[in-house]
Symmetry: C2
DNA sequence: GCATAGTGTATGCGCAGCGCATATATCACG
DNA sequence: CGTGATATATGCGCTGCGCATACACTATGC
């Protein structure tokens, strides 16, 4: 027997699914070729500028081949470039173009607006508790930088100070700051 | 300027994405042919026994053709049947087979276990607040039965008493109780 | 320095899932 | 009974992905 309320389990699951639908719908950009996780790829490259195709694939849960094609699409559309990695001449250092940065800003803005609208119906007191709950759960959901980036693949990292995913030096913010100098 | 904390917005979004990933991973059943929303289709048919292909397609966000093929796969695998609708001889009344019901139970059990494990790290006091927050947000996220079922497409309806999606007579639970007698 | 194993990237090939356009059957309404 | 709307089904082609493979570079051991 579980001490947890079945109702809470259900409501929490429905909430996550419903909110995620909204986020993905808001973040979706028809000018970016390719559905699925292509939009997330732009955010991830923005988070972890200089990451490799292999790392991007692990973050997005795609095969190498699938990731190569995804990057092909982004490059062809002018949103990302494959530049030379500093340490390893086999690897590619992915980064956004100006156009890619512009798309990224638009994606994050729409995401933030959607979430803000939804949260506006929650009282101030409850928001404090919600923030603590989210922090608690997130802090124990990832074991390494890859899984942290996966969870944060649609986050606005620039506005996430004190990111709980960062608690063990494995956060997205950390990854960005270390740039290409440290593999995921 | 938004009075909402940027950090809360980010953490809440990351939480939703991360939890949804976990739910979908847990619910995924390799014995069910076809990825994407095929698993959800079984849950939805279980929720709203007797619904039509058109209704299922709207709930899952698929085209008619895509939904027909999805149902083809479920039927071929022996998890669902197309039976005659009572009122409309054009329409199909979808329902699960014994094997489908078995799969449904397994899917929901894995989902519930995953969510329970995650929520076990939240204090009892915070759980009460979380339940209220989820209720508040969910109650204003859907306008009709289709969008309610979309949000509830991975829910364990049998354990969701007082479902907030039901508040306006448009809930998944309602849909089940009315069976085939009322279109979505 | 050199051989061998390991890693990162790219490509040929085929498959699965989906949407568009279309065809057919049934319903709703005058 | 005729016309338009609705529900389902299918042919066709596209897209995204994975598997297997090829190639380039790195790392390690001798």
């Amino acid at each position: 027997m579980n001490v947890l309320s079945d109702r809470l389990v259900n409501l929490f699951g429905a909430l996550a699914v419903g909110i995620t639908d909204r986020i993905k719908k808001a973040a979706f950009d028809p000018t970016i070729p390719g559905g699925g996780e292509t939009t997330a790829a732009i955010v991830v490259i923005g988070h972890a500028t200089g990451l490799s195709i292999d790392e991007l694939g692990r973050v997005l849960g795609l095969s190498h081949a699938g990731t190569v094609r995804l990057v092909d699409r982004l490059v062809a559309a002018g949103f990302a470039v494959r530049s030379k990695a500093l340490r390893d001449r086999r690897a590619v250092a992915l980064m956004l173009t100006e156009a890619g940065e512009t798309r990224l800003s638009a994606i994050l803005q729409r995401r933030n607006e959607t979430l803000s609208e939804i949260l506006s119906h929650v009282s101030n007191a409850d928001r404090l508790v919600l923030e603590r709950i989210a922090e608690t759960i997130l802090a124990q959901m990832s074991d390494d930088a890859v899984s942290a980036l996966t969870i944060c693949r649609l986050c606005d990292e620039r506005r996430c100070y004190n990111c709980p995913m960062d608690a063990f030096g494995r956060l997205c913010c950390t990854i960005r700051s270390i740039g290409v100098t440290r593999p995921l």
